[in-house]
């Protein structure tokens, strides 16, 4: 069954969208999400409700909004009511969604504000250092910025836990938790670094590797939900690379996917054989690797206990290298838009994406 698409113009360029997790995550899907805007004199965080997934013409209802200083560069939910967002002005805020009981009486309340976490040592007047990305693991939050700094926060403390000045001599653009004490960062030059946050004394990454020989910015990083050593990295040139962190000198699989920058890569949280990417070229793609993992498993069946359990097996289909490339199934979920799609989020069979044409698109019944 093809997905239902419902587009809504919201009068703000949307930079991030995130589904609000539901308390009973295993029973029902979410129908509420947060958006963050950018490139506007007055940016805002907004909470939206999508009335019903059956009614195709249903309009979005804006439940609440909160003005935001600077572009919203990232939003991450910590639990069902708290979320963290970062700003192009270098600040990070912990916000809370409060519902006074009725459906329409939601509000967004600022809980903690970490101001100027990212700054230039010698900045010109009115110059701000954007916080470009953040990642969260339970209550731990890692933020990175154009100043090359990495800051470790925790959601219940006003003071940063740890500040790593000069984690990178370049500007950092994406970050992702690998384990509770490990993060991976990507910079403007496409250099990826794995950091151990547990080691307090020295500020050296555990390993460093390059996306490619050219200076291609790493735009987003995503870790496979079950195969923890598999990491996918989106590039400024539209490439998608799969890395095996156990032998991370070179990417295992390199795909030239989109014609323009990959803006977000998201695995389906519970069905990791489904991957979603969106791009500055206005495309929204659905990748299905079910066939790949299936292809690897029967192999194991045939030569029982022999050589069958190859490396393909444990990569969720992504570590097959060149051989498996053409077995990837890729679908375009919506006809290419004319403007960049900046962000997407997926929850069960519903997907939401935000675009520079100031619209939010909701897709229900995506075929998974």
């Amino acid at each position: 069954m093809a997905a239902n698409v419902c587009g809504n113009f919201v009068s703000k360029k949307i930079n991030k969208v995130r589904w609000k997790p539901t308390p009973d995550r295993h029973i029902s899907g979410s129908d509420t999400f947060i958006t963050g805007s950018w490139d506007d004199p007055e940016n805002e965080l907004a909470l939206w409700h999508y009335p019903s997934s059956d009614d195709q013409d249903a309009d979005l209802v804006k439940l609440a909004s909160l003005p935001h200083v600077g572009d919203v560069t990232e939003i991450k939910f910590i639990n069902t009511e708290f979320f963290v967002c970062s700003s192009s002005f270098g600040s990070v805020k912990l916000n809370r969604l409060v519902n006074a009981g009725m459906k329409s009486s939601w509000s967004i309340i600022e809980d903690i504000s970490w101001n100027k976490l990212h700054y230039f040592d010698s900045a010109g007047p009115g110059e701000h250092c954007p916080c470009t990305a953040l990642a969260s693991f339970d209550e731990d939050i890692v933020t990175v910025g154009e100043d090359g700094r990495m800051v470790l926060l925790t959601a219940h403390r006003k003071n940063p836990v740890r500040i790593m000045d000069g984690a990178d001599s370049c500007s950092l653009h994406c970050v992702c938790f690998l384990k509770y004490n490990q993060v991976i960062t990507g910079n403007l030059r496409g250099q990826l670094k794995v950091w151990d946050l547990g080691v307090q004394s020295h500020q050296k990454p555990i390993s460093t590797f390059m996306l490619s020989g050219e200076q291609i910015q790493a735009t987003c990083i995503s870790q496979h939900p079950t195969q923890r050593h598999v990491v996918l990295v989106g590039g400024e040139d539209g490439s998608l690379t799969a890395w095996d962190l156990r032998q991370s000198r070179f990417p295992v699989t390199l795909l030239s996917a989109h014609p323009d920058a990959v803006n977000e890569v998201k695995f389906h949280p519970v069905q990791p054989e489904h991957l979603f990417t969106c791009s500055a070229s206005g495309e929204l793609w659905h990748w299905n690797t079910a066939a790949l993992s299936a292809a690897a498993t029967p192999g194991a069946h045939l030569n029982l206990g022999g050589m069958g359990t190859t490396q393909e097996d444990d990569g969720g289909g992504w570590l097959g290298g060149e051989a498996s490339k053409h077995r990837l199934e890729v679908f375009s979920l919506i006809p290419a838009l004319h403007k960049p799609i900046n962000s997407l989020d997926v929850d069960r069979d519903s997907l939401v994406c935000g675009c520079d044409n100031e619209a939010v698109y909701l897709l229900s019944n995506i075929p998974i």
């Binding site: 010698s122 154009e146 250099q191 460093t208 044409n357």
Partner: protein, 655 residues
């Protein structure tokens, strides 16, 4: 401000600032569409030279920004949505589908566009009625966008919805257009009908026919003028004398009126004939005096007969000349072709004017589009300019560099837009701006990344020099907070854009090899760096000093040839230095020249750091001289010893 302000009526704004009021102001364009304004008294050569009398007054800078209708939240939806339509049209235009399909595709998009505008109108009206404060402004917007839709609808009829093969017949659609946009007679009819229904229920079986309502005849004439035959007949039947001969006659005339449709099955000539017959029969009835006792019916009958004088008179029933045009065409030239519309239209305009009507043509969308570019909606503007044949690219060239680069994300977007359109100079200048900014903030790593991005060899060389200088001073590739090794160790093939950068990359590699204990390879690399002259002269001394531990290592890692090469370099350095000294002595007192300093940067290392505090030129020079001599001795000794060992080693090996 809003889009309809004409060129001839300047808007005047008062700056709420007492100093500005008294002295006068001066303004300057800032980024985009903003103006910065501050108080400024005009001084000339004749003004007396004394401090301003406003010295202690507070000084303000006021930012003025154009408020364009297109930035209103509701209108923004329209802008973005219709931009999608615009691009879809451009895509269809470029596709190689056959003409018919393209036409229907255009029509679909045109209708889509109109429905977008109508949705926007609806939203605007909603806000206007719900928020009294915004009412006036929003009603103004409604007027603007109503006109846009109105005009576009006509364009659609005239240029897009043309049925190929048929005879360019426009009347049916024109009537639709008029009916849609001028619903006055319909509303009047509704009121008449409502009054009768009301009357029936209150004064049961009363004599009140439709004509009792003051708008009855206006409504009827209006319906006839718009060719709404069915509704007109219905209204006629409501008249209390509807059974009289005159009414029956006019009803009959309306019933038999040939209706022209594109797919009606008649040829033009056939239709024309029927039409003429019908009009003659109408005229006959008028001449026979059928309507003589009912002047209103007589008037309508004459309209049906297409009498020009009467139609001109009917203009006062019309709200606009367009409405009159439709009536005129309907009763004088129903098979009119689109290319004859012009002459009919000008006749109607003239007639309508003479009747005291007025009309205006709203225009000037261009300036709005430009202002679009200037602000945060630049992506929408870009996609519009993309499709402008000649001026588009020129505009982009001017406007893209003016997008404020407040974050790297924004810069990268500008670069992306420029790259897609092959505007290489904009890519380069944007990278340069970002690089220079990083340099100003002392983010050398970032600056180098931008230099590499734009393949800017000069900038890369400059930065490599900075790194080397930093190394000479501190002995490591790092600033207070950053280590640059993550960058320098991973330059890859990028280092090739500049010789200096290549050297820097290789030098880092040398250190890496050395640290890894790979002395033989480290030594080979060092020698090749020196003998290939890739290294800048000011760095030679440092390199030679780096060679000393290799020369003194237990194993012989430098061959005799290598040693000769190094000796040669040392000699060259000394010769250069001597000639420099000679030149300097010639110009007593000794000048402390820039290149002279450059040659010796390598000197102020480790053990000499304390000497650097002596700051007079001469003593400085003396200490440097001493340091140089000491290093020279050290290197010579190491070279000599290694040469001896190497020769012995090589000789014993050959045997």
């Amino acid at each position: 401000m809003n889009g309809t302000t004409s060129h001839y009526a300047p808007k005047i704004f008062g700056i709420p600032d007492s100093v500005c009021e008294q002295v006068g102001i001066i303004g300057q364009w800032m980024a985009g569409d903003k103006i910065g304004i501050h108080a400024n008294s005009h001084t000339t050569s004749k003004s007396s030279d004394k401090p301003s009398e406003y010295v202690n007054h507070p000084a303000f800078i006021h930012h003025l920004k154009l408020d364009v209708v297109l930035f209103d939240p509701i209108v923004r939806k329209l802008v973005n949505e219709s931009n999608g339509t615009f691009l879809a049209v451009q895509k269809v235009r470029k596709s190689k589908v056959n003409q018919n399909d393209i036409q229907s595709e255009y029509l679909k998009l045109s209708r889509q566009y109109r429905s977008i505008v109508r949705a926007c109108l609806e939203n605007l009206q909603e806000v206007a009625s719900n928020f009294p404060l915004k009412k006036e402004q929003y009603l103004k917007y409604v007027a603007i966008f109503y006109n846009i839709e109105y005009i576009w609808h006509l364009c659609e009829i005239l240029f897009i919805d043309v049925v190929p093969g048929k005879w360019n017949a426009v009347l049916p659609q024109m009537l639709d257009w008029i009916r849609f946009h001028f619903p006055k007679c319909e509303q009047q009819t509704n009121r008449v009908v409502a009054s009768i229904e009301g009357g029936l229920s209150s004064t049961l079986g009363g004599s009140g026919g439709g004509e009792a309502h003051p708008e009855y005849w206006h409504a009827l004439t209006g319906l006839v003028l718009q060719g709404r035959v069915g509704e007109a007949r219905g209204l006629l039947r409501l008249h209390s004398s509807a059974r009289q001969e005159a009414f029956r006659a006019i009803d009959e005339a309306l019933r038999t009126m040939p209706v022209y449709t594109v797919y009606g099955g008649f040829s033009v000539t056939e239709f024309d004939m029927r039409w003429r017959c019908w009009q003659v029969s109408c005229s006959n009835k008028i001449d026979a005096g059928v309507f003589s006792s009912w002047p209103e019916l007589d008037f309508i009958a004459r309209i049906l007969a297409g009498q020009e004088k009467v139609l001109d008179e009917a203009a006062k029933e019309c709200e606009s000349w367009e409405q009159m045009l439709a009536a005129w065409l309907l009763y004088t030239d129903p098979t009119v072709k689109s290319f004859h519309l012009g002459s009919h239209a000008s006749r109607c305009i003239a007639q309508f004017r003479s009747q005291g009507g007025k009309f205006s043509v709203p225009k000037a969308v261009d300036s709005l589009i430009l202002s679009l570019m200037e602000s945060n909606l630049h992506q929408v503007g870009v996609s519009y300019l993309d499709h402008c044949p000649t001026e588009g690219e020129a505009c982009l060239n001017l406007l893209l560099p003016r997008v404020p680069l407040t974050s790297e994300k924004r810069a990268l977007k500008v670069i992306q837009i420029a790259k897609q359109r092959d505007l290489r100079h904009i890519v380069l200048s944007t990278c340069k701006v970002m690089g220079k900014r990083a340099l100003a903030r002392k983010q050398y790593g970032l600056a180098l990344a931008w230099a590499l991005r734009s393949q800017d060899a000069g900038f890369a060389t400059h930065l490599a020099d900075r790194f080397l200088e930093g190394y000479s001073a501190s002995g490591e590739f790092a600033s207070d907070s950053h280590s640059y090794l993550d960058l320098l160790d991973n330059l890859g093939s990028c280092m090739l854009i500049s010789g200096r950068l290549t050297f820097l990359g290789k030098y880092c590699e040398f250190h890496r090899l050395y640290r890894a204990g790979d002395f033989r390879e480290a030594a080979a690399l060092l020698v090749s760096l020196l003998s290939s002259h890739l290294a800048p002269k000011y760095f030679w001394m440092t390199l030679l000093m780096d060679a000393v531990p290799l020369l003194e290592s237990n194993d012989v890692v430098l061959t005799s040839d290598d040693t000769y090469a190094l000796m040669h370099c040392l000699e060259e350095l000394i010769t250069d230095r001597n000639s420099e000294m000679n030149r300097a002595i010639g110009h007593y007192p000794i000048p402390y020249s820039e290149d002279y300093d450059d040659d010796l940067v390598g000197d102020d290392m480790e053990d000499e750091m304390d000497d650097l505090t002596i700051d007079t030129n001469t003593s400085n020079k003396v200490t440097m001289d001493r340091a140089f001599k000491r290093k020279e001795g050290l290197i010579r000794l190491a070279l000599g010893r290694n040469l001896a060992r190497a020769i012995v080693h090589e000789m014993s090996n050959t045997e």
